[in-house]
Amino acid sequence: MAGAHRHLLVHGQSPIHTMAPEAKIAATFLFVVGVAVTPREAVWAFVVDGVVVAVLMAVAGYRFGQAVARFAAVLPFVAFAFLIPFVASGEQVDVLWFSVSREGLWATWNILAKALLGTGASLVLAGTTPIPEVVRGLGRLRVPALVVSIVAFMFRYLDLIVEEMARMRTAMVARAHDPRWLWQAKPLASAAGAMFVRSYERGERVHAAMLSRGFTGTMPQLEHRPASAAEWAAAMMVPMVSLAAAAAGFALT
């Protein structure tokens, strides 16, 4: 599937799309933390969080089928979660014709709820924020400038490298290369090695080009509109819900 990587962006101009990226990133992180610390017994808290995520995804412009398809990334873990009741210990209860662990069922619920809510929140962020905006948001959130610059560089060259690898693969397929077993992977692995050399050499050329244009070791900082107080307030409503639900969950269970 070496091809264009999965851009998750949902095109649109919703209020979430236009919000400053740093507020969105911080809000998403805090919301997910709130979900993660919610006690598993507080089922209604997860329902509240779920409503928030569903509303946000709708506002962001996700269509139902599209949203379902994008949840597919967590499927292996969902499968794992469903195995837990059968291997977990503790008091056994009968569900249908199986005897399963009561604690294990709670664990399945816990992982499913938190994984799906976390994925949903991440999808809202990823779906409404173009890559350069995320990079800028990270910078404004005081992520070390060097890391932010590396991330920016990575994205600048990602499509180039992905497409170069795709061309190599096309060339191999055109020469009837159709590997089906691991021990036939040598040409592909050699291509990956060659790709590393090409990437590294490209990095050196880019560095030389940067030096010739006056690079001093740090990237110039571009000015952008910072998030307004109103935006921060609006964004923080979202994690307030999950954190309040978690706190209420602790108080009531």
Partner: protein, 335 residues
């Protein structure tokens, strides 16, 4: 597989918090160390090699009968770029995947970065240095050491996840069940990782051995001219290494479940033996046999470890031999 891109809620919040702090501290150290090594080249080189790792993870490799898997790349990145830069770029890939592609939970980033970037990069690099010492000092030896280090770096990740599970299990599944299943599955995943990493390393050594961080201290001339690997030396070295690793791994398997089991009893979540339905791994059943025939189960586990190690070695051996033959590599192999 299970240790990779774990979603939110997979481990309990305290473990997520502790691993997040640990990962952040180690990454800051890696960032500074990488800066010292690469100077002002760090920005473009780390950025573009991060793009390479990201792209390489999207590249599908054949595994068996048309099914495919992909490279994880932690150990390979560390051997090519050094553990500091290697762990940094893989961590950046993991973080970006969570932020922009919803792969792995945001609250799970601490343990995902730990298990997918820090442990395989630093652990894999340490293993590489050990294997490099055992292997002959030529391109075949380096390729073999890369393959073994990459294979076992995946197992290290599985162990790291199991240990995190011990402290922050979100379900009452006993540690040794999780450990056995995780390590078993990841031994198999490790074969693919080892073979692909070794072959990729062979391609890099053939053209630019001077780029490989892991052999900076060695004589580059020896690698540039593609020394022919003495088949016998390679096989003997491989078998010895496999035996050594099997001993080490089985000792780990022998001692630690006991010691860690004790902890889990104290922590109060140890429990009666349960069915090993946790995974399709054949190893899950061997370790189930329980305490009364531990010797047997260990012997079998050790044997399997050796066989798998040899399989990795065999794949590497075929690859190295393949570079010398003029024929294409497409005739069916007798495995």
């Amino acid at each position: 597989m299970f240790a990779m891109h774990a979603p939110d809620g997979f481990l309990e919040p305290p473990v997520a918090a502790v691993t997040a702090v640990l990962s952040a501290v180690i990454l800051m150290f890696a960032l500074r160390q990488s800066r010292r090594e690469l100077k002002d080249k760090q920005l473009p080189l780390a950025g573009i090699t991060a793009a390479f790792i990201f792209a390489a993870q999207m590249f599908n490799f054949p595994v068996a009968s048309g099914t495919t898997g992909h490279l994880l790349g932690g150990a390979l990145a560390a051997i090519l770029l050094g553990p500091a830069t290697g762990s940094l770029v893989v961590a950046i890939v993991v973080i970006v995947q969570a932020l922009l592609f919803a792969d792995g939970g945001l609250s799970a980033l601490g343990y995902n970065v730990m298990n997918m970037a820090i442990v395989p990069a630093f652990g894999g690099y340490a293993l590489f240095l050990v294997f490099r010492r055992i292997m002959p000092t030529n391109s075949g030896g380096i390729v073999g050491a890369t393959g073994l280090a990459a294979a076992f770096s995946v197992v290290l990740s599985a162990m790291a996840f199991s240990i995190e599970w011990l402290f922050g299990a979100s379900a009452p599944v006993p540690f040794d069940n999780v450990f056995t299943a995780m390590v078993g599955v990841h031994l198999l995943i490790g074969i693919g990782e080892g073979v692909i990493s070794a072959l990729a390393m062979a391609a890099v050594l053939a053209s630019r051995p001077d780029l490989v961080y892991g052999i900076r201290d060695l004589d580059q001339e020896a690698f540039a001219e593609r020394t022919r690997v003495s088949t016998r030396a390679f096989v003997i070295g491989g078998v010895l290494t496999a035996a050594l690793v099997a001993i080490v791994v089985s000792q780990f398997a022998a001692d630690d479940p006991d010691g860690l089991e004790k902890v889990s009893i104290e922590e109060g979540f140890a429990s009666e033996a349960t069915d090993h339905a946790l995974d399709s791994s054949i190893f899950a059943d061997y370790a189930t046999s329980g305490v009364d025939n531990e010797t047997l189960s260990l012997a079998i586990a050790g044997l399997c470890g050796t066989v798998i190690t040899l399989a990795v070695g065999y794949g590497v051996f075929r690859a190295v031999r393949g570079t010398r033959r003029e024929q294409p590599e497409d005739e069916p192999a007798v495995a």
